[in-house]
């Protein structure tokens, strides 16, 4: 089991935004993994993006550069699976 904040999930308004973010992240070489968003984090867009803690800040910069609206949420051990 990983500790708190080992992995973060990025949540978006829409799939359009999620996929634009994925593309920007891949282009920038940030290791992300698309995944469903746990219900207790958001019931908005189903599609979120997981990122290891050490890449979180880099990803924030990339997504800001790509003009993607999003929210970063730490995944605690109970939500991880």
């Amino acid at each position: 089991m990983a500790g708190e904040g080992e992995e973060w999930i990025v949540v978006f308004e829409s799939t359009h935004a999620a996929l634009a973010a994925e593309r920007a992240a891949r282009r920038a070489g940030v290791p992300v993994r698309m995944s469903p968003v746990p219900r207790r984090i958001s019931t908005d867009c189903n599609t979120g993006m997981r990122v290891p803690r050490e890449h979180r800040h880099g990803l924030e910069l990339v997504l800001r550069g790509a003009n993607v609206e999003c929210r970063f949420v730490p995944l605690d051990p109970e939500t991880r699976h």
């Binding site: 829409s14 359009h16 996929l19 593309r23 469903p36 979120g48």
Partner: protein, 379 residues
């Protein structure tokens, strides 16, 4: 007998090979609903739609792909824009050469919302001059809508000038690009057009059941349909952001896969280079038709003013009989009648029997043009 397909203005028939492959691949290998589930095929389907949106945005010079929303055809896009923007009791200015996909929604809106419809007249070639617009704008005008090219005569309309006038007067400007998207270069980073409706299945070379609407930032039409979008699922109100606001329900993803491949093909070839070929065939066809004494041509002949549509009648012959003979004796497919644009024919004096329309496009050859001219010569 070989088929000579001259009905590109209705829909393009032979598509680039990559279109068939993209649709087949989507159906067999992806097959999931886009934007709904975060499993692998669901994400792959979402990427297909996003790729097509990005390609369409690139083709039209749109910086933010989210401003391009997909519809089932150009008609749906036009209904969305017209219903979404026409203010009750206001004036809507349009032209006398519009297709029924503009005329009928406007007619219905005139009844439902008390709109006053104002028509700018076209000249004998089917062109609507900007002066015709200027004198019809009033303080009550809530929307200007016009086709980019007439589907009856092929006449390319001066949307640039109309758009500048609309901007000066602060009136939203909607363009029906059914006949021009993919056929003429359209650069929305430069053109003063606020909303642009297009078909995916004509000049863009995609499959039927595809189309879309560009909505410039600052314009917020009411959605035509409300429903599930895969986003904001806890809310029962329609999302406010694009493209979700206007894309409720499962889209035509196989069609969008094909459309994406088609636009990719056009981006690679360049619309201008596809156009160059069409122009060469068009000039030859116009010259050939002009040399036939019984054939009467309507609309602009020069390809600088014509998107690739040749409307004609044959002296002393019913257009339907001519079209039928062209098909049965020569394998030539044309479109006969009013082409869903009765007002354009009234203005041209060809109502109600209409014209024979030869619409050329991607893949039309010089030999096709010759076949038509020779067939008419021996008719």
């Amino acid at each position: 007998m070989n088929i000579v397909y001259l009905d590109h203005a209705a829909t393009s028939r032979t598509k680039p090979e990559c279109v068939y492959r993209a649709m087949d691949r989507f159906m067999r290998e992806i097959g999931a609903s886009p934007g709904r589930s975060a499993h692998a095929p669901g994400l792959a389907a979402g990427r297909v739609v996003a790729d097509t949106r990005r390609a369409a945005a690139a083709l039209f010079g749109v910086a933010d792909p989210a401003r391009v929303v997909f519809t089932l055809n150009c008609t749906q896009a036009l209904n969305l824009a017209l219903r979404g923007l026409a203010r009750p009791g206001s004036d809507v200015v349009t032209t006398s050469v519009e297709h029924n996909s503009v005329m009928r929604p406007l007619t219905a809106l005139a009844r439902e919302r008390g709109l006053n419809l104002v028509f700018a007249a076209a000249d004998e070639e089917g062109m609507t001059r900007p002066g015709e617009l200027a004198k019809r704008l009033t303080g009550r005008t809530s929307l200007i809508v016009m086709t980019h090219a007439s589907n009856v005569t092929g006449a390319i309309q001066p949307i640039d000038e109309w758009g500048h006038l609309a901007r000066e007067r602060g009136v939203p400007f909607l363009v029906d690009a059914a006949q021009t998207a993919g056929c003429l270069p359209i650069d929305l980073s430069r053109l003063p057009v606020d909303l642009l409706a297009f078909s995916g299945h004509k000049g863009l070379l995609g499959p039927q059941g595809t189309g879309g609407l560009f909505i410039r930032e600052g314009f917020d039409p009411e959605p035509l349909m409300h429903g599930g979008t895969g986003s904001a699922s806890s809310e029962i109100a329609q999302p406010a952001w694009l493209p979700d606001r206007y894309e409720s329900g499962t889209p035509n993803t196989p069609g969008l896969a094909g459309l994406g491949a088609a636009i990719g093909f056009l981006l690679e070839r360049g619309v201008a280079s596809v156009r160059e070929r069409v122009c060469a065939v068009g000039e030859a066809l116009a010259a050939g038709l002009a040399g036939l004494p019984r054939v009467r041509l309507y609309g602009p002949r020069g390809m600088d003013a014509n998107v690739g549509i040749f409307a004609f009648t044959v002296d002393g012959a019913d257009p339907a009989e001519v079209a039928s003979a062209l098909e049965t004796r020569h394998g030539i497919m044309t479109r006969v009648g009013l082409q869903c644009a009765p007002c354009a024919h009234r203005a041209m004096g060809t109502f109600p029997s209409g014209t024979i329309r030869a619409g050329i496009g991607y893949g039309t050859t010089m030999a096709d043009a010759e076949t038509l001219v020779n067939a008419l010569r021996v008719l």
